[in-house]
Every structure is written in structure tokens, then in C-alpha cells.
Point group: C2
Amino acid sequence: MLKPEKISKRQLILAEAAKLFKDRGYSGTSMRDLAGQVGMEAASMYNHIKAKDEILASICFRISDLYISQLGEISATAASYGDKIKALIRLHIRLMVEDGPAVSVANHDWKYLPEPKLGEFKQARKTYEKGFAALIEAGIAAGEFQPVNVSVALFTILSAVRWIELWYRPGRELSAEELEANIITVLLHGLERK
Amino acid sequence: MLKPEKISKRQLILAEAAKLFKDRGYSGTSMRDLAGQVGMEAASMYNHIKAKDEILASICFRISDLYISQLGEISATAASYGDKIKALIRLHIRLMVEDGPAVSVANHDWKYLPEPKLGEFKQARKTYEKGFAALIEAGIAAGEFQPVNVSVALFTILSAVRWIELWYRPGRELSAEELEANIITVLLHGLERK
DNA sequence: CCTACCGATCGGTAGG
DNA sequence: CCTACCGATCGGTAGG
């Protein structure tokens, strides 16, 4: 028999955990902090989750799975490399706006995963980075992009979109669409006027 | 009477703390971890520092003071706005390579500062960001830069240089000079070939 | 889902 | 700079 209540309680714990981990870090968040946010005693949470690090793993891998599957879809389209990069930038911004705390945890707190989860996550991240880098490399080979160092281009783009969660507040002054357009301008066309 | 030994012991504690905070986070690093790294008992460190959070504050404000004073010097030169931005990018890369762990702590662990230090640090960061933004704004007004949203340009540049410490290993494949040149190309000229 | 509790570890102090 | 120790809090379990 399915227990929909148990599933949603677990989701609630994961969602509140993402918010707390984002604000105070994984080590800085106690199971009692989290229990208070969820509205139960710390001991009761163990009916829904196995351990503190299982919460962390669940958040991190949900996000990395999402990114990897989306990258696959975007890579498989017939668009130009410039348009594929733009689609990836939009993907990052959209996920950041819709799922901010979890994205933040996957970006910063993954290092507290215990082995072997830590190794698996690093592997997943490397898979994503390699797929992204392959698009940049192909764009250079096709003459679409400048012949820059691929790692520098990759991490400049990734860092620009990852840092959004640290300063961007939706609605205030800049809409998500304007944010996308401006980041694409800076990264693809450059700050300097030609 | 000056006690040069005490001063250098304190510096040693601060240097080792920066490395541990970078790797495990502030909350994830215990005073016993740190004491082990320094080569003394946890209790003995209190002869050199007042409290754990005083270590954090010392690291964070040393870095923020450095950035603010350097920004002032660069702003005061007669260079073009493009050259001023380039000089700031080089400053960030140089400090990252020379003082990586401390820069990393100032970028990530400042949020664990207790009040009123937390407010002071946020203020210092805002001062730096406003000075940087003023250069971008002036560059746009002078027709040197494209009319992009200033916040987007500012944080795209800042994030690109801050993220370097998470992936760049000096010497391997890419020298610091090549790194500088490539980042400047992507950020100022854009990835797409014109 | 709660009460009661475990052993371990935390930042920090007393006293020498 | 060390030994010895403090009260608080940690992640987690037993038992209901």
C-alpha cells in the first residue's frame, strides 16, 4: 500500500533542509534545527530519513541528475553551438529561480558527502562539465567561437550562472528574462563595445 | 617588549585555519582539528587567539581591507575603464594564487561571523562592490562598454574570478598569465567570434 | 511521532 | 603550553 503522506513528509524535510543548509551550511545545521523547522522532534525525523547525510545526498543527486539529463537533451538538438550555450545558460537561471536552495546545496555542500557518495557526485559533476566543454570545443572548431582556452570559457560561464543565487532577487529591478539577456550579452558578446 | 615568537605563532594558527576552513568549512572545523594541524593542544591556542570566531574575523577582514585599498589605487589611475577592469581582474587572480585559502574563506565563510562583525563585513563588501560598479557605470557612460545592466556585469566578473579557486591549479596546463588573458578575452570581448 | 537517553564531541576555562 | 575539566549540544537509538 502506498503511503502518500509519508512521501510528502519526506519531501517537506528535504525542502526545509535545503533552505537551512543553504543559509547555515550542512555542518552548521543540526537535526534539531531542521526538526524545529519541519514541526516535529529530531528523533521523529528518522521515520522519514535514514541519516543526516542521506538528506544531503538526496538533494545533491536530484540536482545533478536534472542537469545531466537536460544537458543531454540540449546537446542532441540541431541548434547552433551559440544557441546551445544560450539554452544551457537559461537552464541554469531557470533552475536557480525555481529550485534555488537545492541548487545552492548541490553547489556548495556536496563536499560534506561521505564516501562513496562523494566520489559518485564528483563523477557526475565531471560528466556534466565534460559535456558542456564538448559544446564549447565544437563551437570553436566550427569557427563560431573565439579560440579561447576551453576550461576558462567553461568555468567562467558556470561561475557566472552559479553565483546568481548569491545576489539575484527575482522581481526587484531585473526580471529573469532581463537577467538571461544581460548575462548572455556579457558572456557571448563581451563587455567592451566593438 | 615585543614578542616576535607570539606574533608568528598567531600567524601560523591563522594560516592553518584558513586552509582547514576552506576544506571543511568553519562549522566543520573544530578547535581540536586546528590545534592538531598547528601542533599544540586545543586549550593552548587560547594564548594566541581569543575565540574561534576571532580567527574567522581576522582572516575575513585582512582580505576585505586588501581588496578595498587596491580598488582605491586602481580607481585613482588615469587608465581607461577597460584597463581598470583588467587591472582588477588581475588583482583577483593574483590574490587567489598567492593567498588562496584566505580568499576562499572571505568568500564563503564570512556568513558565520557573529554580529556586529557580520554587519561590518557586509558593509565592507558593499563598499567594494559599489566602487567596482562605479567603474563599469563610468565605462558605459564614456561609450567604452556596452549598455548592459551594471549589476549583471559586476557579478558576472566577480563570480568568474572568485570561482577560479575551485578549479584552477597553478602550473598545470595553464599559467597565471594565460589564465588572466583568457578570462579577460571571454569577459571583455565575449565568447562569440564577431 | 514522542520521551528518554546514549556516547561523542563541541568551544572554552581554571590552574598551574 | 599542558592536564583536567565544564556545560552544552551533537547525530542517533530504544521502546513505546
